[in-house]
Symmetry: C2
Subunit: 429 residues, 2 copies
Amino acid sequence: MSDAKSMPPIPLSDRWCWGSRQAISFLMEQGVDNPDILTLGAGLVDSESLPVEEVGQLIADICRDPVEGRAALQYGSTPGSPRLRTALLQHLAVLEGCSSAELGISAEQLLLTTGSQQLLSLVCEVLFNPGDIAFVAAPTYFVFLGTLAGVGARTIPIRSDEQGMVIDDLDRELARLAEAGELHRVKLIYLVSDFENPSGICLSAERRQQALVVARKWSCQQRILILEDAAYRELRYSGAAIPSIWGLDRDREYVILAQTFSKSFSPGLRVGYGVVPAGLAGPLADRKGNEDFGSAHFNQHLLARALESGVYTRHVAKVRRAYTIKRDALLAAADRYFSNIPGVSWVRPDGGLYVWMSLPREIPTSFESPLFKHATRAEQVMYVPGDLCYSGPLAERPRHQMRLSFGVLEPRLIDEAMKRLAKAVRRFA
Amino acid sequence: MSDAKSMPPIPLSDRWCWGSRQAISFLMEQGVDNPDILTLGAGLVDSESLPVEEVGQLIADICRDPVEGRAALQYGSTPGSPRLRTALLQHLAVLEGCSSAELGISAEQLLLTTGSQQLLSLVCEVLFNPGDIAFVAAPTYFVFLGTLAGVGARTIPIRSDEQGMVIDDLDRELARLAEAGELHRVKLIYLVSDFENPSGICLSAERRQQALVVARKWSCQQRILILEDAAYRELRYSGAAIPSIWGLDRDREYVILAQTFSKSFSPGLRVGYGVVPAGLAGPLADRKGNEDFGSAHFNQHLLARALESGVYTRHVAKVRRAYTIKRDALLAAADRYFSNIPGVSWVRPDGGLYVWMSLPREIPTSFESPLFKHATRAEQVMYVPGDLCYSGPLAERPRHQMRLSFGVLEPRLIDEAMKRLAKAVRRFA
């Protein structure tokens, strides 16, 4: 046995290094180290409304039939169960407000993944060489910033306002890159179209159309794709649905649509999916073949049955009711405890899981800030620091914002958590 | 709407290109195009012995308790369920013939993945820069060759004999690389220790010890890790178990042990796992965080219950009995139909799912060969061409071998398939 001190180091790859600074790990540690904390940070879903009985019944139905049971427990194909992909065409048609024939795609353009996160990751893998460029909104989904970093992407943030990413700014930035001879490095425009994580903002219908025009306009020698992350699409609590960017693209060639059952049904099943341009289905499946040759086939059967039987649709309605109450609880608590703190403002989202709150600029919210330390240690309440949701050097990011999730806590505890958080903020205001 | 002809191309990454030529896709297409074919090719498991009733019962138990049901349907952590990882420590101790304390590792060194394939892929992602070197046996598991290609690895094949990889040859190759100043590019030695896919050979106890000595010897400035793929470890039908390479490494620092429930319980659940050196657990979880932030938590709960209740152990015994009959059926059919064809030989495996057959050198077996075409079209029987299981340029690979799987077909059809295959071979002998 060799001396531990003499153990030579494990040489890690550049890619590991690029992708290794993940805030999510730190956040999870905070949760583990402070088990009694009230969390407005975690992106978990509402536990009470998880479909325990429904899943028990659906699986009993599957396992009652040995033929179906065996099929579900056997390997599937890399892109996923044809049965679920067919059911998803129907489901997508409902969301898009058309017939499945009018979707103009085949089931082969659907790829089933381990949550929609794997779809986001696979898209980056098949498109990006180190140094290639992605556009993101500022702020945006922080886990995806890590995924982009992991493939060595250059991430260019584009300002957001109350209508979402300012597409005029995107257009100007693309003109600048064209001028600099770098247009060929641009691969992707990432847009969380409904209830952006963290800001809760929906990209307006006009901006969606405009994003598509801009992607086409600058797709000169090669295509610039839009990755539309619609993870929260089915979690709308007020207001009318806005057509997806994917639906606006009549060619079905410029938009990758990522959706998931994690928020609307169960994250523990890890079933997400992508609707992709015909030419991208093969490359994504190739890559997935090397990564895992297929996500859990059993879970895909379960979701197929949930969709076919109507269990899914009924469940989503239930989930929406539960989250409407929680969103309203968080907004009411914000009114109650924050409205008399000068310089504090927040977005009132029509859906999703998050309320985005801005403090006066002189109150930083980051992990190292006095506020974060005081909130987590003394007040036992946690949030996600807003600076995580921006790309670029830490020192240049806005540091006075917080993502507040109403997913985990029950309404009474949401009120208590907001009360504690306001107390902590007041200390530094 | 733009003209389809004027659609600019989607620019794909180098990594996609490196990893895109996967034989598995072609094999699956063959299966789809020829649904009535008798397949000795597919690596699927025996359908009859899949644990349909057991899974139905275990999930009913989980869903009867709302607390456990909700926990299972909620997000888990990226490295996976602590409950399953703890149960796996116990299970690993049984396989290693020691107490779980004597394993000398913590549950944090277990990483749960989407099948063991994802573990293999993650290991490559965190270790390899393009041009880094991996050693593999010749022949070896063809899917892993694709995974290595996908990260731009240089794969160096090492000759195998009836004891597995010839470690003296590996040692000589490492000396040559040291001489050439390339030792720092060597990252991994890949060994399928039990019933190698495709050859069915076990690496002998002596060679296992020797592999460890060689890995240590050449770990000068940085560690050269052994990736021990033990996917078939629990599928032994005759002969005594051989200690794992992982178990021989008392430091627990040189070996990554990859195992899976896909072969012994159900591939449709996609639960695999790795036992990794302490310093590698964090980097692998970082990478997995970017790829999918955790495999299906629900399935991990199911497997934890299967292990804790003894259902798993009973099921593996049943699976072994089923495969023993099938292996014997294939070997008996080989004796019956092939023993009088000159120059044909085959390995008699003590476990796993495959029989490796060599034809006379002048009969190629590859996808483009007259034999493959005749077998699949006229005789309606399929096998995996042996050349897929070698790295390096196609023209330099042995092309006269076949991997015959006894996993899918029932014994009567195994006999029929072997009869048809012998008829096809005789046509070219």
